[in-house]
């Protein structure tokens, strides 16, 4: 009890002035305040909006419906179609990007004269605006004048021109091919950095012990780049799930609902019908679903920061 009234000698010896203790908070204040204002406040607003029946052009008809929008959502067949498409979208795009990126990285890790040039050129898809990518591929896929059909017909792979983006069974896969093209350089670069971190001596030791190239790959290369694959993979799952600009420009979600993913559905719904209540409900639901993957990524990254 006396300790509280009489400060211990160490407290007197090293007083921490408030100005020093507050320093980090002062330094952080601008960034935190701005993000509170432009990210967290709108996010709360989004959750609130999702509980209302709000059509933007008739704001007076807005009314509180509780979880009514969510009930409507689960009964909405388009929601389930979009959810399925999102699963296909992520499930195919990310492994394809990773596979192609891995092959590219392994090749770029070898010695050849124009390695630097090849590395720079391969990155180009990454630097292009997504709207340019989407329009570019629409031009390539064009059923009448597109170059892809020309090539395939010339090589007799197909008999007649294929309407890549107009065929409900093909459109989603055509866009997945585009996104694979856009995203593989990211993986290539990440994995290449991982490969260069593996000590050469490991390979030398293995080849002295008579390990085949395949066994070296399985026992040295793969474990060496496993952390990179996991981190880059998680990041890409989140990124691919969120990205909808390419789909929006290529098909706008069509034909029918064939290329609707959840974020696109939310966006289209809010944009075309100005049905912000329902659109926001879709967005919030999608965010919650994505949250599981985000949580895994955050846990991994924060463990790093601790060290």
């Amino acid at each position: 009890m006396t300790a509280t009234t009489a400060p211990s000698p160490t407290d007197i010896a090293i007083p921490t002035p408030w100005s020093v203790r507050l320093m980090p908070y002062m330094l952080l204040a601008p960034a935190v305040l701005v993000t509170l204002f432009i990210v967290f406040f709108p996010m709360v607003q989004a959750v609130v909006t999702s509980l209302y029946d709000l059509i933007l052009w008739k704001p007076n008809a807005s009314r509180f419906v509780g979880f009514g929008n969510y009930a409507r959502l689960f009964a909405d067949p388009v929601f389930w179609t979009a959810l399925g498409n999102t699963a296909i979208w992520i499930g195919l795009t990310v492994p394809l990007q990773m596979g192609l990126g891995l092959v590219t990285a392994l090749l770029l890790n070898r010695d050849f004269p124009w390695r630097g040039l090849a590395r720079a050129l391969i990155i180009i898809p990454w630097a292009l605006p997504s709207v340019v990518i989407a329009l570019m591929w629409r031009w390539i896929y064009d059923p009448n004048t597109g170059v892809l059909n020309d090539i395939l017909v010339y090589l007799s792979v197909v008999q007649s021109a294929v309407p890549w983006l107009a065929d409900p069974d093909l459109a989603l896969y055509a866009i997945i091919a585009t996104l694979t093209w856009q995203g593989f350089p990211f993986f290539a670069v990440m994995i290449l950095a991982g490969l260069q971190g593996i000590p050469r001596s490991h390979y030398e030791a293995a080849s002295i012990d008579g390990a085949s190239a395949f066994r070296q790959f399985v026992h040295i290369t793969l474990p060496g780049i496993a952390p990179v694959l996991a981190t880059a993979g998680l990041l890409r799952v989140i990124w691919v799930a969120n990205s909808m600009d390419v789909i929006f420009v290529m098909t706008g979600g069509g034909p029918g609902y064939a290329t609707h993913t959840l974020p696109l559905y939310a966006f289209v719904r809010a944009r075309q019908n100005l049905d912000f209540g329902y659109g926001t409900t879709i967005a919030v639901t999608f965010t919650i679903l994505l949250g599981a993957i985000v949580a895994v990524y955050l846990a991994r990254t924060m463990r790093e920061v601790e060290r």
Binding site: L27, T35, I38, P42, A46, I124, M136, A193, V228, E304
Partner: protein, 277 residues
């Protein structure tokens, strides 16, 4: 190296790499060829592959008949504004994260990481409503704020790792010599972090320049960045692929050139976090 092994290298390395490079370059190269083919030729015989059929006709039309230069200016203002806002608030935040251990540090770092993961669609709708109320819809300022939702968290994380790489003993030495904290930040840490700040700034510029959905939703009439303008080139009755391609090539050029210039350093920074994992 003896001859057979060179041949072997060409077959197992050079050729596959060439295939991948062609795959990566092909679509954009096709776009460039399209932009160089005049519309009449394009409609009659398709894209002209030989230089004989090339002309700058589409580019001339792009600059004369459309407001593309004005759109470029809009993009430039927004991208530069985002860089300034993002870096200004992120530099001090990064310094705080890497030099101080304080209550709530973990939580605050986590929140910046979390923001980066938010679906853009979740923010775009409430931002539209809020900006309409605030009267900053369709202004440069509004789009700068919107782009900052991506730029700030990214810049904070990048810069935290850059500042963290500078030994603490340097700013401690400066402070013993009589500098205050802020003076140490300005005179010692800032100059040393400059390469990191520049590459972070350039990456923010590229993402803000390439951004499409915010620009489409929160801008569009008065303020029309290139990404939105390119799409309006499509034309009313039939798609003008030549003009569109010219717009796409010009619109993509600034970001692509910057990316190629800084790729080495940028990728170093981007991969650091992932490789350590």
């Amino acid at each position: 190296m003896s001859k057979p092994s060179t041949l072997r290298r060409i077959l197992t390395t050079d050729l596959p790499v060439l295939v991948i490079v062609l795959f990566a370059m092909g679509p954009f190269a096709w776009m460039v060829l399209t932009s160089l083919t005049p519309t009449d030729t394009l409609n009659a015989t398709g894209v002209s592959v030989s230089p004989a059929g090339w002309s700058l006709d589409n580019y001339v039309r792009l600059l004369r008949q459309t407001s593309f230069l004005g759109n470029m200016l809009d993009s430039l203002v927004i991208a530069c504004g985002t860089v300034v806002l993002g870096l200004a608030v992120a530099v001090t935040a990064a310094y705080a994260f890497s030099r101080f251990r304080f209550a709530g540090r973990r939580l605050l770092m986590l929140q910046f990481l979390l923001i980066n993961m938010f679906p853009i669609v979740l923010l775009i709708l409430p931002l539209f409503v809020l900006m309409r109320k605030a009267g900053i819809l369709d202004t440069h300022f509004g789009l700068i704020l919107a782009n900052a939702t991506v730029a700030i968290p990214f810049a904070v994380w990048m810069l935290t790792s850059y500042v963290g790489a500078i030994p603490k003993s340097l700013d401690e030495a400066a402070m013993i010599d009589g500098c205050s904290r802020l003076a140490a930040l300005r005179r010692v840490v800032l100059p040393l972090t400059m390469p990191g700040i520049i590459s972070t700034g350039i990456y923010i510029f590229i993402t803000a320049w390439n951004e499409y959905l915010y620009a489409l939703t929160l801008g569009g009439k008065n303020v029309r960045p290139v990404t939105v303008a390119i799409q309006t080139l499509i034309g009313e009755y039939q798609i003008e692929w030549g003009l569109l391609a010219a717009g796409a090539v010009v619109g993509a050029m600034p970001a692509t050139i910057l990316f190629l210039l800084v790729q080495r350093r940028l990728i170093g920074g981007l991969t650091q976090g992932a490789v350590k994992g």
